[in-house]
Symmetry: C2
Subunit: 185 residues, 2 copies
């Protein structure tokens, strides 16, 4: 599977594309940062984020998009910008019918380092190792985007198994229903 | 001037179009609510908000869009949805080159009721009076969207005067600069 990870932000929106399946070596397809000028007005910044994400979707055609789930932080101004940039990324993917998954920062850290409280350097080091890169991707937002994509690939089998179980259960219930009805009629 | 006011929200996004200028009776052109199902996933909800806003822009061709400025509130989940819906509204307008203004809830309340701490009923009553409606628009989100549009029309002259003063000052500085240079050369 090919996944675009997005670490949302107005000033720097990290983007990284990873291809692979759980249990096999992963491949980095691309990594970068969509930047918007801090002195531009919010509308222009959101349009620039949209254009940047659209370019990454056009160029790399991911099957899934994984976006960091935004939580309220201490800095309200920052969290608003992050929430708004994430909305644009989710909108761009959903408009194309690409499934979007949200992963929390601690899920991502736990997936790539084994600890939900790992620091940025540790995440960068593991991303570098897992994707067999020569050096950690810079800035940290780019590394975080790759970590999101890796997290999604590794968590997907569990999520798929859960979905399959639900689908099987639903199908079984549907098959059973008319039969039961037939017996009681 | 024709202004589309947007009271952003994922479950109910209030929209209202008002036409007029400060100091003259105002006219309501349209009012409504863009709704998205609470059980749909975030991506589908944002796409639905985008489609709704686009329809209002297509149908009413506003010259300005006024959106409520989102602050962090007690309920983090709600404020995230509000920030994300506002991002979509701002994006839709900015993509078309329509200027977007953000007004705080207290600016809007102060503009239409004289008090920044007015309650919803008071805002609804004043919107009804100012637009000469038969009854307060329902739900409250729709009335708030109209109040935002009214606020923008009434605040615009002051903002325009400020912009004109800045423009005049800049132009004067530009005119002065070559003259001074000429004298010292």
């Amino acid at each position: 599977m090919r996944v675009l990870g997005v670490d949302p932000g107005l000033t720097r929106c990290g983007v990284g594309v990873v291809e692979g399946v759980a249990g096999r070596p992963l491949t980095m397809i691309g990594v970068g940062v969509v930047r918007t000028p801090a002195d531009a007005d919010l509308g222009h910044r959101l349009v620039a984020v949209e254009q940047g994400i659209e370019q990454w979707l056009d160029e790399h055609r991911p099957e899934f998009v994984a976006v960091e789930r935004v939580f309220s932080q201490h800095n309200v101004r920052t969290v608003m910008g992050t929430a708004q940039a994430s909305a644009v990324a989710i909108l761009c993917a959903s408009r194309r019918g690409i499934p979007v998954a949200l992963h929390t920062p601690s899920e991502v850290k736990a997936a790539v380092t084994g600890s939900g409280r790992a620091d940025k350097a540790q995440v960068g080091a593991m991303v570098t190792r897992l994707l067999r890169l020569a050096a950690p991707p810079r800035p940290a937002d780019a590394a975080d985007a790759l970590a999101l994509a890796i997290c999604h690939i590794w968590r997907a089998p569990a999520q798929n198994r859960l979905q399959q179980a639900v689908a099987l259960h639903t199908a079984a219930a549907t098959r059973t229903a008319p039969h039961t009805k037939g017996r009681t009629a």
